[in-house]
């Protein structure tokens, strides 16, 4: 009986695959699909393939080297530094910018003309291209006469080499990133907060909840799906944006601001070690895939909060 229905189902599936409606659907899909295959999936496969080949200096053709590129990469101190930096950079930007964005959102959820103004001001850094923002922050960080040192001097604090010292540079870049992204995340949180029905708060008030308890037991859990979404966006930002590194520090001083994407760029275009660049790309694509897989799962889990 069961078998019967499945074969029946299979036949129906095959039939429906070729029916007019389906063909039409595929036709409609084909342009987008074509470009997706051409520019996303094909390069991904190609890169994976390439990561197993290497053309040593002077050789005239590529040789299959198995996992040799991977072991070369993992033994490259610069790569390890880049991964470490990226890790610090991720933790040090994702969490603060989300917390700050959430804090802004909490203060600015109710609409009023004043709050709308503040919201636009806070959102503004998101609209500035990263390259321009980096150039702007160069002035802020300029030792001695930059905006930051100028004001710190008024407080009696000595001038600091914000970008030139290996101890400070990465943190200076992180400040810029937080400044740039917090307003963006704020927007998601505002949308999320506005989606929480007023009656949940009213019920909580009558049940005896104060401000903190409402935040703890109502707002935070109901914002779960929004937070997961913002978290993933923030992580992706961390791996995909290096404009500021290029503009401000070129990965230095002493590799202290080298991030994985910049490492890939350097190997591909400066050191001409395409095999290493390719292999590092494969690894970071895998991390990004893992993140998006994780994100879709969490977001699906969040859906049943509605209704």
């Amino acid at each position: 009986m069961r078998d019967n229905t499945t074969t029946h189902g299979k036949k129906r599936l095959v039939k429906s695959f070729f029916n007019a409606e389906h063909i039409k659907a595929w036709l409609y899909l084909s342009p987008a699909l074509l470009f997706l295959l051409l520019f996303t999936y094909y390069p991904m496969v190609q890169v994976l393939w390439d990561s197993f080949f290497h053309r040593p200096y002077g050789a005239d053709k590529e040789l299959f080297v198995g996992f040799d590129n991977y072991s070369r990469l993992l033994n490259d101190e610069n790569f390890i530094t880049a991964v470490k930096n990226n890790f610090i950079y991720a933790i040090g930007t994702v969490i603060p910018s989300i917390v700050i964005g959430f804090g802004f959102a909490l203060c600015l959820t109710q609409s009023s003309r004043f709050k709308n103004c503040i919201r636009s001001l806070l959102f503004f850094p998101t609209l500035v291209p990263l390259v321009a923002a980096a150039a702007l922050w160069m002035f802020i960080y300029f030792p001695g006469i930059g905006l930051l040192d100028y004001y710190l001097a008024k407080l009696g604090i000595q001038s600091t080499d914000w970008l030139g010292s290996p101890d400070n540079a990465l943190y200076s870049l992180m400040m810029l990133t937080i400044w740039k992204n917090a307003g963006f995340y704020m927007l998601f949180f505002i949308a999320g907060l506005q989606g929480i029905g007023e009656e949940y708060y009213e019920a909580a008030s009558l049940e005896g909840a104060g401000w903190w308890q409402k935040l703890r037991y109502v707002t935070l859990p109901l914002l779960g799906p929004t937070s997961a979404f913002v978290f993933v966006i923030a992580l992706i930002h961390v791996f995909t944006h290096v404009d500021h590194v290029i503009v401000m520090t070129l990965g230095g001083p002493m590799g202290s601001t080298n991030l994985v994407l910049y490492y890939i760029y350097q190997n591909a275009h400066e050191f001409n070690d395409l095999a290493k660049a390719t292999t590092a790309t494969v690894l970071s694509v895998m991390v990004l895939l893992a993140i998006s897989f994780f994100s879709i799962r969490t977001m699906e889990r969040g859906i049943h909060y509605e209704s």
Partner: protein, 375 residues
């Protein structure tokens, strides 16, 4: 448990005045139903008492204490919202026990209290479920559970049954009434459904346009409404209104030229009003065989054509047209009326109410039932 008093409450949103001077006292343990058309301010009254809105002026008492400036969480009120406002991320048990948790009750006592409440409401087997897994009636019960577990002084229920289907609504209505009887907690129940109001209430408060129209036991409001609004709002089908002109001291003339004579003392109440409306309940009208020859002075008889008949089982609703007027009759004896036929309707002015045409106030408790019906 506590009594409730509203004294000269005013509330407006922007420059739109919503509550326009409400005075109302509710006794300890009473179940009072607020009824009125949509937008008349029923929810606003509950929200004011709960502290979710702030009144412009006036004072509110729960028991002996003035609550105007007390925070909602300290008023010891439980409210059931129209859409229940159950927390989707909490289980049934967590939803019910939420208030106790916020008040810092320890876990052991809390679990015991939740179990007790759940068994009172028949929710034992659902405690680990989440609200989205429940039916409408079950969600309603969970909302009730969250309200009663804290043993609050007052229950406020804002149209709690309106999201349920008809059968479940009847069942929950009965449960709410039984529960209220048992807990004896002062309750305000808001509805726009007059059947709910009539069946649940110890007393009904009819609201319209931000003002109390009338307060009283259901049967009292039904039998002696103070104005046209109350008369028209309660009763299904609605009371029939017939316009009449004063053509003599104690004589009224209907649009079709019929005259009725009023007793002298009732005519006095009319004073110098020239136009009135006669209100007659559908069940006070009879369908008679033929025009009766021995007509009493104060009986009105009409011939009219039947447009629709609805059967309610033992009773029938007969809608007919008398000229432009649609008249509804509720009767057990339809005397062979069929749709499209001509019938004779008859009612006694003894059962009718008179309303002033200008302001709708009730002029006379003409009806005999009005006198014996007051509770």
């Amino acid at each position: 448990m506590a009594s409730i008093a509203f004294k000269q409450i005013y509330k407006s949103y922007g420059n739109i005045s919503v509550i326009k001077g409400i005075d109302l006292e509710i006794k300890d343990g009473e179940l009072v139903v607020f009824i009125g058309p949509s937008g008349c301010g029923k929810s606003t009254m509950l929200r004011l008492l709960a502290g979710l809105e702030e009144e412009d002026s006036g004072s509110m008492y729960i028991g002996d204490s003035l609550v105007n400036s007390i925070a909602p969480k300290d008023r010891n009120i439980a409210m059931i919202f129209q859409n229940y406002a159950l927390y989707p991320h909490m289980t049934v048990a967590e939803n019910i026990g939420f208030g106790l948790k916020l008040r810092g009750m320890n876990k052991k006592n809390r679990i015991r209290a939740v179990d007790e409440t759940a068994s009172l409401l028949g929710l034992e087997h659902l405690l680990t479920k989440q609200p989205r897994q429940l039916s409408g009636g079950q969600r309603q019960r969970v909302a009730m559970g969250r309200a009663i577990i804290r043993n609050p002084k007052v229950f406020l229920m804002d149209e709690p049954l309106s999201n349920l289907d008809a059968k479940l609504r009847n069942q929950m209505r009965i449960e709410i009434k039984k529960l209220q009887r048992r807990l004896k907690t002062t309750t305000i129940f808001v509805t726009h459904d007059q059947i709910e109001a009539m069946t649940l209430a110890d007393r009904i408060v009819v609201l319209n346009d931000g003002k109390v129209q009338q307060v009283g036991a259901p049967s009292k409001l039904y039998s002696s409404p103070v104005n046209k609004f109350v008369a028209g709002f309660l009763g299904s089908p609605s009371i029939n209104f017939i316009h009449a002109r004063r053509t003599g001291d104690n004589e009224l003339t209907l649009p079709d030229g019929q005259c009725v004579l009023l007793p002298v003392d009732q005519a006095q109440i009319l004073s110098d009003l020239r136009e009135v409306e006669i209100g007659i309940r559908p069940e006070q009208i009879d369908i008679v065989k033929s025009r009766q020859t021995t007509m009493e002075e104060n009986t009105i008889t009409w011939s009219s054509s039947v447009s629709l008949i609805e059967s309610l089982g033992s009773e029938k609703l007969v809608y007919s047209y008398h000229g432009e007027h649609e008249v509804a009759v509720k009767t057990t004896n339809s005397n062979g009326a069929v749709e499209g036929s001509n019938i004779q309707l008859s009612f006694s002015m003894n059962n009718a109410h008179l309303f002033a045409l200008n302001d709708g106030r009730c002029l006379s408790p003409l009806a005999g039932i009005a006198q014996k019906g007051s509770i």
